[in-house]
Amino acid sequence: MDWEAILLSLRLAAASVALLAPLGVALAWPLAMGRFRGKLLLEALTSMPLILPPTVMGFYLIVALGPLSPVGRLWEHLTGARLVFSFQGLLLAQVVTNLPFFLQPLVASLGGVDRRLLEVASTLGARPLGVYLRVALPLAWRGLLSAVVLSFAHAIGEFGVVLMVGGNLPGRTRTASIALFDQVEAFDLAGANRTALLLLAFALAVLMGTAWLRSRERAWN
C-alpha cells in the first residue's frame, strides 16, 4: 500500500476543507437567503465544477496557475516556488473544484431553517451577521457537517484535475487516486486492488454517514 500517497490525500483534503469552510460559509448565506442581482449567475458559477469535465477545470487551472499567468507569477515572486506541481497549487485547484460539494448541502440546509426564528432574533436586536452566525448556522449544523464531510470525501477522490496540474510527484502531488492509476497502468493489479478497496470502503462510509445525517434532519424538522 502506498501510505505516502494516502497520507498526502488526507492532508490535502483536510487543508481543502479548512480553506473551503470560511469561503463556503460566506457564500452560502447570500445563496440561501439573499435576493440580489446576479444571484442566478453566482449560483451557476459556484455549481459549475459539478458538471464541467475535470479536463476543462484542469486545463484552465494549469493556465491560470502556471508561471506565465499573473497568479502564478505573483506566487513565484512572493515564495520563490512554483504554484503548479506543488501541494499549494493542488490545494487551490481542490478548493475551486470542491466548492459546490461544500455549498450545496449547506445552502439546502439553511433554506430549511425556520425564518420566524431569524426574524425573532432580528427584532431582538441581532445584526444580520449575528443572525446568520449565531442563529441560522447553528440551526443548520447538519448541513454544515454534510458540507464538511462531502467536500472532504470528494477532495480525497478527485482525480482528473490532480492529474492535470499535479505532475505525479511522490509525497507532493501523487495522491491516492493518482497512485491507484499508476498501479493499474504499471500492471500492479494487486496494489491497485488494495488502494481501490480502501477508497471504496471510505466512500461507502462517508455516503452512509451523510445519508444518516439527512434522515435525522428530516426527523428533526
Partner: protein, 256 residues
C-alpha cells in the same frame, strides 16, 4: 407523430450509431510520440486504400498495453518501445508473425527560448541552471521516452542534481503540454513533439546524443482479435515499406 413512434425512432437512431458504416476500420492504439506523424501516415495510407479507415487513439505505451491486456478493442498497437509489444506477444495476444520494428525514436531536450540557454554548447547541463525550475518528461514507469530521459540524465551524472525539478506527464503528450502552457521551462520529450510548431517556435531544441540512452526501438504488433486482419496487415506493410518510412523520416524518426 405520437410518443411511441418518436421513442422508437430515437431508439433506432441510438442503436444505429453502434453499427460500423461501411468498409473496414482499423483501430490503432499508438504511443503519444506518434501524434502528428500518424495523422500524416493515415492520410497517405487511406489515399492508397479506399474503403479502409484508420481510427487513432494515443496514450502512454504502458497504459495502452494494460488496456489491451484487459481486452480493449484495438487492431494494431504501435508502441514507443519494443518491450511492451513483446509482453503482449508472451501473453498470446498478437498474430503469429510477432512484433515488427518500425522506427527508432529520438530524445530531444527542449528549453524555453527566453531563458537564453545554449544546449548546443552545454548539453544536458543547461538543466542545472537556476532559471530552469521545472523539467517535464513522461512517467518513466509507463512511457519509453520518460525512461530514456532518466537514462540520459543518469549517464551524465545529472539525475540526482535535477531530480527535484522533474515533473511527470502521464505520457509524452502531457509532458509536451506542460511545456506549451509554460508550466515547465525545459523538457525531455520526443522529436515529434518538439517539432510541433507550438513548441518549435518558443523553444530551443537539442538532440540528445544517441549514445546517452538505450536506443528507443519502436515496435508494433497486430492483435489476434483484429476485426479486419487484412486491412491491419496492409497498414503494417505500408508502415514498414518505403512510403511509410519516408513519412516517419520526415517527422524525425530514425530507421528501425
Amino acid at each position: 407523430m405520437n410518443l411511441r413512434t418518436l421513442l422508437a425512432a430515437a431508439l433506432a437512431l441510438v442503436l444505429a450509431g453502434g453499427v460500423p458504416v461501411r468498409g473496414a476500420g482499423v483501430a490503432i492504439a499508438a504511443a503519444g510520440d506518434l501524434r502528428g506523424v500518424l495523422e500524416a501516415l493515415k492520410t497517405g495510407f487511406e489515399g492508397g486504400h479506399p474503403g479502409v479507415q484508420l481510427q487513432l487513439t494515443f496514450g502512454a505505451s504502458g497504459s495502452l498495453t494494460a488496456q489491451i491486456q484487459q481486452g480493449a478493442p484495438f487492431d494494431v498497437f504501435l508502441s514507443a518501445d519494443a518491450g511492451f509489444p513483446e509482453q503482449l506477444r508472451q501473453a498470446g495476444l498478437v498474430t503469429p508473425e510477432g512484433p515488427f520494428p518500425y522506427a527508432t525514436g529520438k530524445l530531444i531536450l527542449w528549453v524555453r527560448q527566453d531563458l537564453h540557454l545554449d544546449p548546443a554548447r552545454e548539453g544536458l547541463k543547461v538543466l542545472l541552471h537556476p532559471a530552469v525550475k521545472k523539467i517535464a518528461t513522461a512517467n518513466p514507469r509507463l512511457a519509453p521516452y520518460g525512461r530514456a530521459g532518466e537514462a540520459a540524465l543518469r549517464a551524465e551524472h545529472l539525475f540526482e542534481a535535477v531530480q527535484p525539478k522533474l515533473v511527470f506527464g502521464e505520457n509524452i503528450l502531457q509532458a509536451a503540454q506542460f511545456l506549451q502552457t509554460g508550466a515547465a521551462e525545459a523538457g525531455l520529450i520526443s522529436h515529434a513533439q518538439a517539432a510541433n510548431p507550438a513548441l518549435a517556435q518558443t523553444g530551443v531544441r537539442w538532440e540528445v546524443p544517441a549514445g546517452a540512452y538505450p536506443p528507443i526501438r519502436q515496435a508494433g504488433v497486430i492483435l489476434k482479435r483484429a476485426a479486419s486482419p487484412d486491412a491491419a496487415q496492409a497498414f503494417r506493410a505500408y508502415l514498414i515499406g518505403p512510403e511509410g518510412q519516408a513519412v516517419l523520416a520526415r517527422h524525425g524518426f530514425g530507421r528501425p
